[in-house]
Symmetry: C2
Subunit: 330 residues, 2 copies
């Protein structure tokens, strides 16, 4: 069967703790997905076997044979050499160091594999199928445990010299501020990442200034997920809401700096915090951006919530594989 | 005479107070230049006549006829619609509002005219003929009365959605800091622009902590040009040197944020302050950038001084005209 008859693509979202594998049609509809926990302490071989198993699992579930698959796309965290299909360095996954992920997976499956940075791949997904459709200059900021970023410039993902552009989470917004996971102080991530917000929320809980939150999870930072915070605000925790509005304001300042430097047409905000608290964060961040950016530029940039959620990376990855391996089909 | 026989190009650097007009050979050697003051209060017509006169003046001086000129390139301050050859808005030159500069000058000279933002055109010059030759991802920061910036991404000047990308001088580095000319507080320009530095230098002079500077110009901010500051430091004004090192450190923090967002290969620093005080500013800013940027990215970015000085814009403008109007020649 020639490539032109391939009906399916596989998209993989590789995270620090989980692997999300999906089978998509040639129209990028998700046919089936499989999410499994990965124990990264078990090393590269275990991880590759898990990925291989996942691929065969989603195929089996959909009764699709590997022959019908045109290729595999993967979004992985860290600094990626997209041309070589290599993960150069991934802070949270030690074995992904100069790791030829695309080649290894190709060896195991016989399918061509394309690899990209997870945040880039997610914004690529939003650019083709979600909130950024039709926009050629886009800044994407994703607020989760960390704060990731990616850029679409002139209609294409901008990778930078080493493939590491878009690290907006480590722009230093408050010199001498709180310690960030990266070792610096005052990075955007140390202000607006989920952990930073949870830590400040636990302070409010401990002070009895966030009663509903306290009733729900006490002062347990690791339990203060985005959904829990959203529910506490809905239940009336005013101080918590105020704190999060303040975080969004600081996010807006970072957005303003990005607007001045890049003059984008659209800023897409996504990630767990935005999914749960978008009604607060989006408007507050946009107002703050408009206040701090150059007026002419601020007046011409839109702010929108990401639309694809968990499916952004698998869809973007599948589309990348399509772009790379189906090109000769027409 | 066909275009293929054109031997010369004209490059124009249009500033808030002066017009620098140059005739260049097809190899972009500067044959002659003319610098005149422009009184912008006299409006558009006066300005256009001055520009026209300048063009004929440099031709006359070199004994070159207009027929031998292939086209005209201009770098102008403000937000430019490069495709239409229009200045949309220029903060310091009121009549340049939705002003069809390219069309007007073409009407007066009969030559094709291309227009770009002055800082972009200057970095374009450095990219073709100066410090940024051979680099495909470059951030340019120019420290003068204001702080301008421009980006080369994937080998091309990055203009952004409206043609206004690169406003690094208005990244807010110190929320609530000193008032900037743009109306915001704590912009990079309000910290590292020449006026901001001169104001702080005058403070040192007034306190008798910068004796040589005081002896030279008293506490007169408008006289504290870059060259004067450099001379005072050479003469032994230690507190002045320390102050300027502090400014360079803050510049380095802004550079670090740009490195994290754009992952460039090279940062070019230029402008009057760097020309006079480069020996202090470059090293200090680079050290600070390396301290604050993500280590993998910091390790792979170079910092260099601009090489072309006053000739960056005229050379870049002439080259732009060549690129646009000589394309059909080959």
């Amino acid at each position: 069967m020639g490539k032109k008859n391939k009906k399916y693509w596989i998209g993989i979202d590789l995270g620090g703790t989980k692997l999300l594998t999906a089978l998509l049609t040639r129209n990028f509809k998700v046919v089936s997905t499989l999410k499994i926990k990965v124990d990264i302490s078990k090393g590269a071989k275990h991880f590759l076997e898990t990925a291989e198993d996942s691929i065969f699992e989603v195929l089996k579930e959909s009764e699709v044979s590997l022959k019908e698959v045109g290729g595999i796309g993967i979004g992985a965290p860290g600094i990626i050499d997209a041309k070589k299909g290599t993960v150069l360095y991934s802070p949270n996954i030690p074995f992904l160091k100069d790791f030829q992920l695309a080649r290894e997976l190709k060896k195991m499956t016989g399918k061509p594999v394309v690899l990209g940075n997870d945040v880039n791949v997610g914004l690529y997904g939003e650019h083709h199928f979600g909130a950024a459709r039709g926009y050629s200059d886009v800044v994407g900021i994703f607020l989760g445990t960390g704060v990731g970023g990616a850029l679409v410039l002139n209609g294409k993902i901008h990778e930078g010299f080493m493939g590491a552009a878009g690290e907006v989470g480590h722009m230093i917004m408050e010199p001498g501020g709180n310690l960030c996971g990266c070792g610096q102080r005052g990075c955007l991530e140390s202000i607006t990442g989920r952990l930073a917000i949870a830590a400040e929320a636990s302070l409010l809980a401990a002070r009895q200034q966030a009663k509903y939150l306290y009733k729900e999870v006490g002062t347990e930072v690791s339990k203060m997920k985005s959904g829990v915070l959203a529910k506490a605000i809905q239940s009336g925790d005013k101080a918590l809401e105020k704190m999060i509005r303040g975080k969004a304001e600081k996010l807006g300042l970072a957005m303003a700096n990005l607007v001045n430097v890049l003059n984008p047409e659209l800023i897409v905000l996504g990630g767990g915090l935005v999914e749960s608290l978008g009604n607060i964060i989006l408007k507050e961040a946009e107002n703050s951006m408009k206040k701090f950016a150059m007026p002419k530029l601020a007046a011409n940039v839109k702010v929108a919530a990401a639309e694809l959620g968990d499916h952004a990376i698998i869809k973007g990855a599948a589309r990348m594989a399509f772009e790379k391996f189906a090109a000769g089909e027409k």
